[in-house]
């Protein structure tokens, strides 16, 4: 059998090298880089938590405090990402569709959460939403700071630019003709926006959601100032990890980290699959 026949019958094979050189070099570099930055640390994490054995790992996983912390972390990140999807999309809409004085300023401000040290944001939020703070005092006796609601607010701040920056470019590409086509077919503004424009943005909105959510799950700096960190109530998983570390319980810390990692990975994988599905449907969006 000739070489070409083998290649044709093989079920899986390397992509043929293209006319653009450097495939071997760039792939090698990517793998090395990925190993050093992501794979090896993650493997170390798994290795370290494996010291506990299944029963020890399981004990930590089912520990009430761990479960509550995971619940708070993922629950608040999920809520914050949801809120960001709605308001981030509206904000992106305003920034792309209208021209008004101060638009550039607002556009620049969206990126602030990227640049600001998150602890600074956390302290500011805590001061503002505390029961005796400017905003917090208005809502008394309802408490915002030092409850999971405070965490959600901090995470909304952290995650906002992810949604805005992923949705914005796609929104800018929306063809005026598509809107006009909807209008000639009898659609009013409301129908045009909700049946034509927004569904087309689904993949970008999903990406924004995934990024904001992932960022929210891992957020530490801003949350610990506003959360109050009450065990079983407003204690987030990353904080619990730090607490375990301070107790020199490295295995315990890595075990919680491993659980977080697995849940995050599973959720991101699902979101990616949804995206891939919608991309196949709608073409390259």
């Amino acid at each position: 059998m000739t070489a070409s026949a083998t290649a044709n019958t093989a079920g899986w094979r390397m992509k043929q090298p293209s006319i653009i050189p450097g495939f071997g070099l760039t792939l090698g570099f990517s793998l090395t880089y990925l190993s050093l930055i992501i794979l090896i640390p993650v493997a170390g994490l798994l290795w370290r938590s494996a010291e506990l054995g299944w029963s020890g790992f399981f004990a930590i996983l089912t520990d009430e405090r761990t479960l509550r912390a995971l619940y708070v972390s993922f629950g608040t990140a999920f809520l914050a990402a949801l809120v960001n999807v709605v308001f981030g999309t509206i904000l992106a809409w305003v920034l792309t569709r209208y021209r008004f004085p101060g638009r550039r300023l607002i556009d620049a401000m969206v990126d602030l959460p990227f640049a600001l040290p998150t602890a600074v944001a956390g302290i500011a939020f805590a001061a503002l939403y505390a029961p005796n703070g400017w905003v917090g005092s208005l809502f008394m006796p309802f408490r915002i700071a030092f409850t999971p609601l405070g965490i959600v607010i901090a995470l909304i701040f952290i995650g906002l630019p992810f949604v805005v920056r992923t949705v914005q470019p796609l929104m800018e590409e929306i063809d005026r003709e598509v809107e006009e086509a909807a209008a000639t077919l009898g659609a009013n503004r409301f129908q045009t926006i909700f049946k034509v424009l927004l569904p087309g943005l689904t993949p970008a909105v999903l990406t924004g959601f995934a990024l904001a959510f992932a960022r929210g799950v891992g957020e530490y700096g801003s949350v610990i100032f506003i959360a109050g960190n009450i065990p079983y109530v407003s204690e987030i998983a990353p904080l619990l990890i730090v607490i375990r570390l301070e107790e020199f319980n490295y295995a315990g810390a890595t075990a919680i980290a491993t659980i977080m990692l697995l849940i995050s990975f599973a959720m991101l994988l699902v979101i990616n699959l949804i995206q891939a599905w919608s991309r196949r449907r709608y073409g390259n969006v």
Binding site: A182, T184, G283
Partner: protein, 347 residues
Amino acid sequence: MEVTINNIRKEFDKFAALNDVSLKIASGELIALLGPSGSGKTTLLRLIAGLDYPTAGQVFFGTEDASHSSVQERNVGFVFQHYALFRHMTVAQNIGFGLKIRPSATRPPKAEIRKRVSDLLDMVQLSGLENRYPNQLSGGQRQRVALARAMAIEPRILLLDEPFGALDAKVRKELRRWLREFHDRTGHTTVFVTHDQEEALELADRVVVMSQGKIEQVGSADDVYDRPQSPFVFSFIGESSHLPVDVRDGTVLFQGEPIGVSEGTNTVGDLFFRPEDVELTDDPHALFGKVTACRRLAGTRIAEIDIANNGHAPFHVEVEVPLHAPIELGSEARFRPTRWKIFPGQK
């Protein structure tokens, strides 16, 4: 539906894109708006659709003044150059969209929508593709989906904005013929915009030639080609050459010399003629110039001739010559227009 456009004017920031345009479109007619870019043809189409509003003037649908109705109220079918399909919807969903979004009082039942969609798919010859997404279709197929979508709402008039502009030449020709058949079958009043004169002349019952926000001429393909009413139409449609002439005592003079062509009224203006309306001659009273190029064009040859102009840049004309005619590069050729038109104007 008969459409009447009365003295329409449209300004964009003080720039008049349309200037006092009036046009009557008969029911069932297929009309082409033809002109170079910037002539206002697309603006006129959008004003009929209600996608823009005129600065002054009215649009009548039948006897109803539609000038101030919204695009939704006008119930027109509009097909865009770049299809403007909804890419998150299947072909069937795209076509059914206009019916599905109607308020429940006027919305047909689901089964009927489905039936209409499948009828339309038949009509545009895309049956079997109803569950595809637009990005899985070719350009020609997309444009036919766009047409089916526009037809689904039973529009009073069908408007097409450069419908074949984004397609390659072969598909364009096919779709052109197909649109003509489609129109003959459905009998919808149809207006389409194009900058391609071949398309306009071949397809339309009447051609509206536009330039700089004005209508230059309205007429059948024969009218605008054989009897152009303005220098613009003469030079925009088909090939033509022109020379500055005087008419004195019934004789046309070029550079003060008779050229063997006569005309009734005395005037000063431009003599227009087409390459095919020229005969080669030995007569001393004829135009003559140097052949600078000669190219084969399907069944004939086109000679490019430079006529000397007292040291200024020479006049450049193109004439059709028989394949066997003894024309050589650099030689002198004598010729005389057999059909021509003189438009008065400054010399």
